[in-house]
């Protein structure tokens, strides 16, 4: 019975989701405006701030595109608006897919695409997925200021330890993210594409940085990350032609 879609695609749902997304958009713009003003107060070059905004905006286009795949998948079952809300606010594509399936299984279905999905399960899904995602924001709300204060104290009183902590955590985190791409192909050969993407992306970023040093062109430093990412994607595309 698909009549739950009349709820999922209702004007009320559209309005409720739209309000939340507009608020979050407004929050981003508010913080940006505040930071901009602060930047000018402390004497930062507006060119630097403009480039930061445009660089980040440009980089964010490509990684947003794969999220559309999850959006369309979820929209086919959960209607037009709730998946849009979930992927725009707090959630990530991996969480939303898993959360929708876990909720469906709590009702005895195999997955959220199961035939038995109905209005009761849909409303419960709204609650479960909304509550399950709140822990990050709640922790930040209660813990961010103390965490911040602690880190600042450390930075002032023990700068070398602080640098080791920050550099160390970042390197350990990046190594952790890289490890599956470097090794999963030994279990599933088709994952060689991920390896190709990782390695060519990394090599391209290094090349951009090296060229930036040689030519003294700051633009190449700015391009090293988004350019490296695009070259990495191209690396995967080319590797696929050989596989």
């Amino acid at each position: 019975m698909k009549d739950y879609l009349s709820i999922a695609n209702s004007t009320l749902m559209a309005a409720a989701c739209g309000i939340v997304i507009l608020y979050v958009l407004g929050q981003s713009l508010f913080f940006m405006r505040r930071a901009w003003k602060r930047g000018k107060e402390i004497g930062m070059d507006t060119k630097v701030m403009k480039k930061t905004v445009s660089g980040s905006a440009l980089f964010s286009v490509v990684p947003s595109i794969p999220i559309l795949i999850i959006l369309v998948m979820l929209m086919s079952v959960l209607g037009n608006y709730f998946p849009w809300l979930r992927l725009s606010v707090v959630g990530s594509s991996s969480y939303e897919n898993v959360a929708a399936n876990i909720t469906a299984r709590s009702f005895g279905l195999l997955s959220y695409t199961d035939e038995g999905y109905n209005a009761s399960i849909f409303i419960s899904t709204l609650w479960a997925m909304s509550i399950g995602i709140l822990y990050g924001p709640l922790l930040i709300m209660f813990g961010q200021k103390s965490l911040d204060k602690g880190m600042n104290k450390l930075r002032k009183n023990k700068p070398i330890f602080y640098n080791l902590l920050i550099d160390g955590i970042f390197i350990a985190m990046m190594s952790w993210f890289c490890a599956p791409y470097l090794t999963y192909w030994t279990e599933k050969p088709e994952q060689l594409l991920a390896l190709a993407a990782l390695v060519t992306g990394g090599a391209a970023a290094l090349l951009f940085n090296w060229l930036a040093q040689k030519t003294n062109r700051h633009f190449l430093t700015e391009m090293s990350f988004p350019g490296g990412m695009l070259v990495g994607m191209l690396g995967a595309y080319i590797a696929n032609l050989f596989l």
């Binding site: 409720a16 595109i65 959006l71 990530s92 419960s124 594409l193 970023a205 070259v231």
Partner: protein, 236 residues
């Protein structure tokens, strides 16, 4: 003058936290408003199965409660104060907010934890959030139905299915090269864990393993630093 500057920064940061907490609370209430509104209007004609709903909430809370702790502890030092509030409300941290913030600092040669660093990370994360919101809005309207067959088609799928490893490589490589003595053994250790224990096993306890790996790695770094193998200098 210096004292004045410190006081102004302190005021700015205190206000950042105050505004961050209030705006996050409002966002949380709005998120809960959606199921509440739907339940109020449509719930009377629908039988809500409370025990199944609670069971789903408990399962999701158990998984994502832990994930949230790991993410807050691991990611927030790199996001800046305002950036952390923004990131945890807009999501997609590992694949967008963290890279945006990190790259913006690196490109402008600005250090984390400084006044300039706070401005840079806020602008970068804000811009990333706005762009993603707009693209998802267009996706919901029509872009999704147009682009998805192209992205998932045999021609372009290999490229778009591998965005995350591509950006991970591009982000990580410059840091690895700058800190070879730390990064090479760490990458090898991570790879050995995955090779010995297997991808499925590692995925089953991903957050726990990541937190454990980071903690153990850091203890090892402290050890090699104390022995003088690695030298760390305060950044200028």
């Amino acid at each position: 003058m210096k004292k004045e500057a410190v006081n102004t920064q302190e005021t700015y940061m205190n206000n950042t936290h105050r505004i961050g907490k209030i705006s996050t609370l409002i966002a949380i209430l709005l998120i809960l408003m959606v199921p509440a509104a739907i339940t109020m209007v449509y719930g009377k004609d629908v039988k809500i199965q409370i025990s199944n709903t609670i069971s789903a909430i408990i399962t999701l809370s158990a998984i994502y409660g832990v994930v949230s702790v790991v993410e807050v502890v691991s990611y927030s030092p790199f996001l800046g104060s305002a950036g952390a509030y923004l990131s945890f409300i807009t999501g997609n941290i590992m694949n967008m907010k963290l890279p945006s913030a990190t790259n913006a600092l690196r490109v402008n040669n600005v250090e984390r934890g400084t006044d300039e660093g706070e401005v840079i990370t806020t602008l970068a994360i804000g811009a990333s959030s706005v762009v993603t919101t707009v693209i998802l809005f267009l996706g919901m309207l029509f872009l999704g139905r147009l682009l998805v067959p192209v992205i998932t088609g045999p021609a372009l799928a290999p490229a778009f299915n591998n965005v995350t490893p591509a950006l991970t490589g591009a982000l990580a490589a410059p840091y690895f090269i700058k800190n070879k003595k730390l990064s090479i053994p760490t990458v090898i250790a991570g790879c050995l864990l995955y090779l010995i224990l297997g991808y499925d096993f590692m995925s089953s306890g991903y957050s726990f393993f990541m937190l454990g790996f980071i903690m153990i790695s850091f203890l090892c770094y402290l050890l090699v630093y104390k022995t003088g193998i690695v030298k760390e200098k305060p950044k200028h």
